[in-house]
Symmetry: C2
């Protein structure tokens, strides 16, 4: 008899719905291997929520309904006032249930912290709550709740970066430095620069392929990579804040406030500068990569020349990579490499986190 | 107030004592980060055991005592009869305590299975018990005990191979094939072949440096790699047995039964054949690596030509690597690379496993 784990899904976009779908698809293997059954109890979007079991069973219909531009508040079985939503959510915030944050907001951080304090598990694909102040991070990951909060997919999609660094920390091994690339989108763009293509051409292609955020500056600003670097640094035990991250974006302040269409029209202004950097790097047998580097004192995030033959230099496609240098991994680093983008792989990381919490913390 | 976890250490060699030392060194970080304190309650070797708290506190003295060729049975505070040892161990086989197997025997498998069934955690650096029959593996890792048995250091020292594959399996992702190198010793030897050195020279050097087992055939037979491949295959969910592993050793049957000294004297007989394989590989821009490959139908382990520019071909030193190809990691594999040998890194993997069990399973 499989143990039932209630699931509350915040965020009803591509990742959220892929998590729901994957849980349905894995039902047999989760029951057989872990004696677990995940039961979806709620989906919450920015304006409403669904708690009706019959409606929740048909994820395809929910996806279609959302695709048509609707909020769950408008759904026939939807709940729309925040009071009603809170009332339905309250009994779910308890041991044996897992709240999954697939949003891109930090407005629900209070709700999630309360849920974890009341015994629920919380899994984040979202980076926002984890990159608030250090004391909030501690509330989520400190000794009282250790093991009930997981967030693999907040960094590097589902590749086990967080899991690997967590193990190094658990072994009491002192990490000196971590280094890596944490953006599938910027990986695609910098690998394209290797082939002599222009930045503007690559950004427009990435935009058209849907690799970038709706506003490509959300990728090109480096803020997404900066948040990921901060999360990994905190897992190393370094009490850093966002203000300790030196972020060098790929576009100047003059392009910050124009519309997306204007930005895409004007990004060619950057081509000459990037091409010059690329050429200088090539002379040293290097390529440009958007690299994050972190140590106990802070993080730096920006475009860097790296040796063409190094693991980071050899990256192509949307793969991400992480190198961990520590007391024990001293002569050569611990290296993790895997696909850094895509709803499937992000959802897989979320589901692995859910299984680990359920196996670990809900007897 | 830190939660106390009792520790029973089987095996009193380099790895076992390094685990004990690491637990002492990590005491402050384990208390602060996880609210945990590991208390060593027993060390057991092949002929005796120590349960005396004062004696156990001085690991340096125990190391010296063992170094002089003594068994714990001969220790002033030692316990020597198996009845006495069993009587002391019985109350420790319960929830809140962890048994750690740093031996190279399968004689204690019954004891360890009983401990896990009675609620204790079990951590293996040893491969023997995990490569018994599939039903024993199921008893150790099935749904009733999931999360109380961990064995990262049985494969690839402490690099998170098992953790990574476990996460892929937990996400319900279907693994099609895993491939890698799982022996620091054979990595050292094959990387040396790249430089035109002879097999015999490299084996003698690895032996002199203490990289090989006391009988280097234990490495060169491929059995160690075969066991590691089988363990990872089982984590993928494939119900394989040792008889499903095709193991191609590096020496012929005619050298199986001679003494170690005779083996080292005669290993030059193999040089010409290996040099010919190396030369053929080089013509295809390949190098020789001792590769393990596994799929749902079985495992193959042996010396193979691999492209010089591939991640496995680029390996040097004692690093190990694992590639995971699955439904989700389809266009490029998930890759983990890290040092594959050494007591420090092996002990670190054991300690990370202990923390994860303690955080997860002992409320």
């Amino acid at each position: 008899m499989a143990k039932s784990i209630g699931v509350v899904l915040f965020g009803c976009g591509n990742v959220g719905l892929t998590v729901g779908k994957r849980l349905q698809d894995c039902a047999a293997s989760h029951a057989k291997r872990y004696g677990l059954r995940f039961d979806l109890r709620a989906i919450v979007d920015s304006r409403g929520a669904l708690f009706d079991a019959e409606a929740l069973a048909n994820l395809g219909a929910i996806a279609d309904f959302k695709q048509q531009g609707n909020s769950l508040a408008q759904h026939a079985q939807g709940v729309s006032t925040s009071e009603d939503i809170a009332q339905h959510l309250e009994p779910l915030a308890s041991s044996g249930n897992i709240f999954v944050d697939c949003t891109a907001t930090d407005r629900i951080s209070g709700q999630l912290i309360e849920a974890i304090q009341r015994g629920a598990g919380v899994v984040f694909a979202n980076k926002k709550v984890l990159t608030g102040d250090w004391s909030t991070f501690q509330q989520l990951t400190g000794p009282d709740v250790t093991g009930r909060c997981r967030f693999e997919s907040s960094v590097g999609a589902g590749s086990p970066f967080v899991a690997a660094v967590s193990r190094v920390a658990a072994a009491g091994d002192a990490v000196h430095r971590i280094q890596g690339t944490f953006s599938g989108t910027l990986g695609f763009i910098t690998a394209g620069l290797d082939k002599g293509r222009s930045l503007s051409e690559l950004v427009r292609e990435a935009y058209d392929l849907g690799y970038t955020e709706p506003d490509p500056r959300d990728d090109l600003s480096g803020m997404d990579v900066a948040r990921k670097a901060l999360i990994l640094a905190r897992v190393c035990g370094w009490s850093l804040e966002m203000s300790d991250v030196d972020v060098q974006g790929l576009y100047p302040a003059s392009l910050s406030d124009v519309s997306v269409a204007d930005f895409l029209a004007r990004i060619g202004e950057l081509d000459a500068d990037i091409a010059a950097q690329q050429e200088a790097a090539a002379k040293e047998d290097c390529v440009l990569r958007y690299v994050a580097e972190a140590g106990p004192q802070g993080c730096q995030v920006g475009l860097r020349p790296v040796p063409r033959s190094s693991p980071i230099g050899a990256l192509s496609g949307t793969d991400n990579i992480l190198n961990v240098h520590s007391d024990i991994y001293s002569s050569t680093p611990l290296v993790i490499q895997g696909s850094g983008a895509g709803a499937d792989i992000t959802a897989a990381g979320v589901v692995a986190d859910m299984v680990e919490i359920a196996v670990a913390r809900f007897p």
